[in-house]
């Protein structure tokens, strides 16, 4: 059973995340929300004060996403630790919109220091800003992870609530640089069960990822791959098979990758950036003419 308390007005501490089923019940119930005009998000912070980087969990995640053991803690793995916080938020009164029907538009992560299995981390999520998008209202969630009081990882989830009329905030702008020429780097398969397998390691059991029938309930003709799985799968190919000292990656999700399917990875490392190694990559359909996601990556290999 989850233990929850509200020590301060807008900080919610979650020491034991609730079971996925409970989180989803909350998310589904949130579908009853009928917000009027939302002018701003209430500043609220969710915290998991102590989370241990568990070797078995990391290994299970790495396997599903295609990372090798030698790569250490995968760059996107800490995002998994934030998931229960995001779900709590979506189910809560602080999130004005229902969880279902919110589209993951972009994701940014920045690892500042090498992470190790066994590290004890403090995981925080706070509400971010509202941005106006041509298709609806964009809002951001900010993640921050620290170890012994030192920031080791942070990230931003950018979500779009489609259909919100008269969205507020500054206009949403792509964080990615202009067009660069990419070359075909690899092809990979997105197996029929990858949504279920990734759901188990990430906790994200959204029905649109699990099976064709469950996806159809929400208007998709087939199940679609988790955007963060597709991103992680591409990163497994783009990153070296060794731990990273630091890294940053920004991704924008373009179109769904239907399951089962094949995808192609297109990339160039001939780009400048803030890190010693920089790259731009896209995951496209098998033919290579339709992008599923586009990303910019920089990294420093651990000494």
């Amino acid at each position: 059973m989850a233990t929850r308390r509200k020590p301060a007005m807008t900080t919610i501490e979650i020491t034991t995340p609730r079971h996925a089923a409970q989180l989803y019940a909350g998310a589904l119930l949130s579908s009853r929300k009928r917000p009027g005009v939302v002018k701003s998000l209430k500043a609220v912070t969710y915290v998991r004060p102590e989370v241990k980087l568990d070797a078995a969990d990391v290994a299970a995640y790495a396997k599903v996403c295609g990372f090798r053991h030698e790569a250490g803690v995968p760059l996107l793995y800490p995002q998994m630790l934030t998931f229960p916080l995001a779900m709590e938020f979506f189910a809560s009164e602080y999130c004005p919109w229902p969880a279902m029907g919110t589209v993951h538009l972009a994701n940014r992560v920045h690892q500042h220091h090498k992470l190790n299995v066994g590290d004890v981390l403090r995981v925080e999520m706070r509400t971010g800003e509202l941005l106006a998008h041509e298709k609806g209202q964009v809002f951001t969630l900010e993640f921050a992870i620290s170890r012994d009081g030192e920031r080791v990882w942070d990230g931003t989830m950018t979500a779009l609530r489609i259909g919100v009329k008269h969205p507020v905030g500054k206009p949403y702008a792509s964080a990615l640089t202009a067009d660069v020429d990419l070359s075909c780097q690899a092809t990979f398969s997105a197996p029929a069960d990858i949504g279920r397998r990734y759901g188990l390691v990430s906790g994200d059991m959204n029905p649109i990822h699990l099976s064709a029938p469950s996806a159809r309930l929400f208007g998709f003709r087939q199940a679609i791959a988790h955007g963060l799985w597709t991103k992680a799968r591409a990163l497994a190919a783009m990153l070296p098979n060794q731990p990273l000292e630091s890294a940053e990656v920004v991704v924008e999700f373009k179109t769904p990758l239907y399951l089962p399917g094949r995808a192609s990875l297109w990339a160039t490392r001939r780009v400048s950036g803030p890190q010693p190694h920089n790259a731009v990559f896209e995951v496209r359909n098998a033919k290579g003419d339709k992008p599923h996601l586009r990303a910019q990556l920089g990294y420093t290999v651990a000494a």
Partner: protein, 437 residues
């Protein structure tokens, strides 16, 4: 003592390159799929004989070889000579040094001419990966040999009883791989690209230039007197005159799986395809050429071979030319920049780029080559000016002859100058030479 009676050859003579001939190169299993090495080499030598009117002539030697060879072709070159209109008194022999075969053959003929052992000769090479020597299943072969050694019927039947149906449908196929590492040439080249940090983009750009340069050379009629059409083909069928950088970018890496999964840079576009074809060059002393009124295109002046330990020392399999060239330059008293043209065989775009990068690298030049300072950069506009193997294709043993003839004609067109040839070969070997006019 009788040593004072032992004679020393008078002098070393200049070796003239008089011309060359090749049949257009063709991707494996296309237009030459049913042509044998014998047929292709014969057609190529005959074309050279026709061009220089050598019918009935007794040449000093004809040297050549093939990398992929049937055991029945043990005398491949001599058999080809017998099928041409050269005098049947012309001797010939086969050699094999992987992709260095063609250039090594030219050096052997040149050295005999230089020392006055012969006055003229032909060096050539041929390869087919279409008409490949498919062998008996290895287990079946051993059983048949055991049966043939048997002295009694019982022994023979005992041996033959070991034959299994599967052995009949599992032949021994030739492999394009290094016996000591089990890796293919492309996989080794991918490892080199990783070690030297050669980008995919640089490789694709080199490949595109190769096609553009070869296409332009064809348009200019450059190959008109260097080629004999064969089987209705008049130009290398690997050449893509309309190739674009977008097309090259769209190709997926093909040698990454074992050595660099999903991080490869070598594609079918920036690697040479398996190719069928043959080439030959005519070399002679200046006196022999003058007596027949054949103009000299250029002179073959220096050569060098090198080999590297790619197995224990883990040097790149195709890095030997990087070692051979500085040794040759030291003997010739030349700098890397003292050349008007560079013909660096494009086994893989990555091989060329690794070699050039190594020559610019201070640590490599100091630690591996023992040089005080790096050899430095070359002017890239002088590199493979009329295309190279990425566009023409690469029938292993025929590449040397293609390059020698091409470079000699380029120098003849320029009037004077100096060109460098560099060819990498399987087994961690490299064969290099200097051509001057």
């Amino acid at each position: 003592m009788t040593s004072s009676k032992v004679q020393t050859p008078a002098t070393v003579r200049r070796v003239a390159i008089l011309g060359g001939n090749r049949i257009p190169f063709a991707r494996s299993n296309t237009v030459y799929a049913t042509a044998s090495n014998q047929e292709m080499l014969t057609a190529t030598i005959q074309g050279l004989v026709d061009r220089f009117n050598l019918h009935g002539e007794r040449l000093g030697d004809v040297v050549g070889g093939a990398v992929m060879k049937h055991s029945r072709d043990f005398n491949l070159v001599r058999e080809s000579v017998l099928s041409t209109t050269l005098s049947r008194d012309t001797p010939a022999f086969d050699i094999q040094q992987a992709c260095g075969t063609g250039l090594e053959a030219a050096m052997l003929v040149a050295n005999k001419i230089a020392l006055g052992h012969i006055e003229c000769g032909i060096a050539g090479g041929v390869d087919t990966t279409s008409d490949a020597p498919v062998g008996l299943n290895e287990k079946l072969r051993k059983i048949l040999l055991e049966a043939s050694r048997a002295k009694t019927t019982v022994q023979r039947l005992t041996a033959l009883a070991k034959v299994r149906p599967a052995m009949l449908v599992q032949p021994a196929l030739p492999r394009n791989g290094e016996p000591r590492t089990g890796l293919s040439m492309g996989e080794h080249a991918e490892q080199m690209a990783a070690e030297w940090d050669i980008s995919r983009e640089d490789q694709d750009e080199l490949a595109l230039r190769s096609h553009q340069n070869l296409a332009r050379a064809y348009e200019d009629g450059f190959f008109n007197d260097l080629m004999t059409p064969f089987k209705g083909v008049a130009r290398d069928n690997n050449l893509r005159a309309d190739l674009s950088i977008e097309k090259l970018r769209s190709l997926k890496p093909c040698f990454d799986k074992k050595v660099r999964p999903e991080q490869g840079t070598l594609t079918p576009g920036n690697s040479t395809p398996l190719t069928d074809g043959a080439s030959a060059v005519l070399l002679a002393s200046e006196e022999w050429a003058a007596a027949r009124g054949i103009p000299v295109l250029a002179y073959l002046t220096f050569s060098e071979v090198a080999a590297v330990d790619f197995f224990e020392a883990k040097e790149g399999l195709l890095m030997a030319p990087a070692y051979a060239v500085p040794r040759m330059l030291a003997r010739a008293g030349l700098k890397l920049q003292d050349f008007d043209y560079y013909e660096i065989h494009e086994a893989f775009a990555a091989q060329v780029l690794c070699t050039l990068k190594a020559w610019e690298n201070k640590t490599f030049c100091k630690d591996k080559l023992g040089l005080d300072k790096p050899l430095g950069k070359i002017n890239r506009s002088k590199l493979n000016v009329n295309g190279s193997s990425l566009a023409a294709g690469h029938p292993f043993a025929a590449t040397g002859g293609r390059i020698v003839a091409t470079l000699a004609k380029i120098l003849e067109q320029k009037g004077s100058g100096r060109g460098l040839i560099s060819i990498c070969a399987a087994g961690g070997q490299g064969v290099v030479a200097i051509v001057e006019r």
